[in-house]
């Protein structure tokens, strides 16, 4: 696989898997309004994944975007592990979304300056959507954190549990360094400082305690995942694998 193709695929997979995860809230939201809000965010992410996968397909020259999404196995997916984590209760989902949105905002802001015109265009388009997502999730973090004693405790636990997946946002591997040198990719290390600012500010407002950076999970860049990705893929890929010629 070419460098640019793999780099784009990583970004695409992160959007795709988080979109699929969030879509599980459709018809299960705590209220009708929130159900639609989460489904909208999921659809935005699917849209981003679609644009990126089309580009991967073009770079690949053989496989269609659908084939890339539906005909790969776990070890061939490169999404950040945080995206595949289970939805849990509403607070678990909101915290995961908030941490991801804060990262997406900075990542896409930086990718918007990419020398690659298509990546830059996708980043610019995604940025508008992501800014709204961040506004939505930050407000909920504050509402729940600074809500009742019970809601504060619950969302603090959610935060503590998912924290170990935030290390991956800022990792750089060989491919990242190559893409950075070509002025195509993002310097992930560089995002950390501003991410800390965004996250700390909201957590403070929400009366939540930022967990210490302890052991951090990693491995998604090599296709290593937690047990949850397989189950997502089983659901997401069932139809096109069982009925390869199905049209929808």
């Amino acid at each position: 696989m070419k460098d640019l193709e793999k780099y784009t695929l990583r970004i695409a997979d992160t959007s795709l898997i988080l979109a699929q995860r969030l879509s599980e809230w459709c018809s299960n939201g705590p209220t009708l309004e929130e159900d639609i809000a989460l489904s909208n965010i999921s659809l935005d992410l699917f849209g981003q994944a679609n644009g990126l996968l089309d580009y991967v397909s073009k770079l690949n020259g053989e496989k269609s975007a659908d084939e890339i999404a539906f005909k790969r196995n776990e070890r061939q997916f490169y999404n950040l592990q945080i995206c595949e984590q289970e939805n849990g209760h509403f607070g678990d989902t909101i915290i995961r979304q908030f941490l991801c949105d804060s990262y997406f905002k900075l990542f896409y802001s930086s990718l918007a300056n990419s020398k690659d015109e298509i990546l830059s265009a996708i980043a610019n388009k995604s940025l508008k959507e992501v800014e709204y997502h961040l506004r939505h999730s930050s407000n909920w973090v504050i509402r729940l954190g600074d809500g009742t004693k019970e809601s504060n405790q619950k969302i603090q636990t959610s935060l503590n549990q998912i924290w170990k997946f935030t290390g991956e946002f800022f990792e750089m591997d060989e491919l990242d360094n190559i893409m950075l040198k070509k002025n195509i990719g993002v310097d992930n290390n560089n995002l950390k400082e501003e991410w800390d600012l965004i996250v700390n500010k909201t957590l403070k407002q929400a009366k939540l305690t930022r967990p210490n950076d302890g052991y951090m999970m990693n491995g998604s860049k090599q296709g290593l995942h937690t047990e949850y990705l397989g189950k997502i893929l089983a659901q997401m890929q069932y139809l096109p694998r069982a009925y390869p010629d199905a049209k929808w």
Binding site: G29, P30, T31, L32, E33, E34, D35, I36, A37, N40, R135, H136, N139, R143
Partner: protein
């Protein structure tokens, strides 16, 4: 889905700059920001507008159907309230 006990807000959307805000429907929300976001998600997904107002439903004072007779009937037979007794000058168009 659990019973929703939160506040109801009325949603008004301005479709274009300069036009009046029109009533679109309502949403449930706990606070102002949530009301605005819910309205955005529910009612402006297909380019419906450029500005949203949300107002707590309890703050809207409405006439009630029972008052219909005393409120609206008396104007029915007062045709002179309509500007229909003028002769239109020939040059005036689009009126």
């Amino acid at each position: 889905m659990k019973k929703n006990k939160s506040t109801v807000w009325e949603v008004f959307i301005q479709s274009k700059n300069g036009l009046a805000h029109k009533h679109f429907g309502n949403v449930h929300a706990e606070d102002k920001e949530m009301a605005l976001q819910n309205a955005r998600d529910l009612y402006t997904r297909r380019n419906e507008g450029s500005c949203i107002w949300v107002v707590k439903s309890e703050h809207i004072v409405s006439s009630v159907p029972d008052d219909e007779d005393s409120f609206f009937d008396p104007s029915n037979d007062k045709v002179y309230r309509h500007p229909t007794f003028y002769k239109m000058p020939d040059g005036a168009k689009h009126i």
